[in-house]
Amino acid sequence: MIRLSIPFRQALSKLTLPVLIAGAFGLLLLGKADTVVMQRARMALADVLAPVYGLLSEPLSSVRNGVDNIRHLFTLYEDNARLRQENERLRQWQAAAQALDVENTALKANLHWIPDPAPSYVTAHVVADAGGIYARAVLLSIGPGTPVVKGQVALDDRGLVGRVTELGSRSARVMLITDISSRVPVVLENSRAHAVLVGNNGAHPRLMFWPEGSPPVEGERVTTSAEANAFPAGLPVGVVHYTSGKVAELVPYAQLDRLEMVRLFDYGMRGVLPPEATSSKPGSEVKK
């Protein structure tokens, strides 16, 4: 080891620090100028870490489930009462849904309806939060050779989660609909009015740009619209909720704070803009 005198070492550190600070500015500029290199570096690191975190996530989630189970023991009585009520309500809905399904099938048969092709999908584990402080995204672990492309739509068992924005060989990053740069064209189900769902990094994204005269109604269902050809029509997104400040927000169906698995749907990219163009700012094409 080279032994340097203390004053010399101090002088050296005085010199290196400003140079490195200048280097940090250089990195900032480089990152802004060449996003492709940065994304590649990020996904290379993610590719290394995703399998490791994938292994870790199983015992961690079982610990979390254990804690949840203990907590549920204390609310057993109330949970039971609530579930019984909900079950009654769902039984009524089930009867209604079955009747509507039969009617729907009969009507479609009469109309010679061409059924939509069933989209293919792959299911992937969410291995880590990939948002950082000022973004909302998750990292998925995907096996090499899995047919995943940028722009694919991610859903959990309840509703829309987001879109694939970055892709490595073993990992994919999905930007959530709550991210501040996320824009999703949606339809308000009752009025069939179009609107844009704008992420704000909070739990509830905001609804904006609905046509005058058909404002979102509290509790109204919101689904995706095929408007900008970024999403297929009719995917469940969430329900409208007004804040105390009369701002129309959306409570997503998807459990975005505790995602464990998501399905990545391939809607064939028919009419969808090239993924490379949409990947840097998904949904930016719908900003008008």
Binding site: T16, L27, G132, R173
Partner: protein, 183 residues
């Protein structure tokens, strides 16, 4: 051992001892990197990204103040790059905040290390607030969005609260396993 060193008698530098010195010297950098990687794992903590940044900032400031020889500026730079890549922040921003925090720690080193813990903590509070503000402003500027201030406040708050806890462990390490003189 210190007395023997002062008397000018140096232990023979065997390979094992040199390895020991290197391990002790690299302790701060390696533990900080390990902390970054650990807090990027799916632990499900609320505000985990903030924990990650705040924890690493505490370590960088502490070692910059008490043992900068074991955490050279280049190590701080590389830790910043790692944090940025893990955090999907604009690359270079965390590097910049870490280096500035480290630079302040170096500058205050002479006066601050002689003072009590409380004053060191007060100094760190200013560093944590300033770095969260810098990150918030720069990210807002780079993404052309007015980002929520709550995230930055949470980051500063976690850093301020975490520092005393981390400092207990790090001070112990500083006096024992991270001390190359004990090799």
């Amino acid at each position: 051992m210190r007395a023997r060193r002062l008397a000018g008698i140096r232990q023979h530098a065997t390979a094992a001892r040199r390895l020991d010195v290197v391990a002790r010297m690299s302790f701060p950098t390696i533990t900080t990197a390990a902390l970054l990687l650990l807090l990027a794992a799916p632990l499900g903590l609320p505000g985990q990204a903030q924990w990650q940044q705040a924890g690493a900032l505490c370590c960088v400031f502490f070692w910059g103040l008490f043992r900068p020889a074991s955490m050279p500026p280049l190590a701080v730079f590389l830790l910043g790059v790692l944090a940025d890549l893990l955090d999907y922040a604009p690359l270079g921003l965390t590097v910049l905040t870490f280096l500035l925090a480290y630079g302040l720690a170096l500058r205050w080193r002479r006066g601050l290390t002689r003072l009590g813990f409380l004053l060191v903590w007060f100094a760190f509070i200013s560093v944590a607030v300033a770095s969260a503000a810098l990150e918030w402003a720069a990210t807002s500027l780079l993404s052309f969005h007015f980002l929520p201030v709550g995230d930055a406040l949470l980051e500063a708050g976690i850093a301020i609260g975490l520092y005393p806890l981390l400092a207990i462990g790090l001070t112990r390490a500083h006096q024992t396993i991270a001390d190359p003189d004990l090799a």
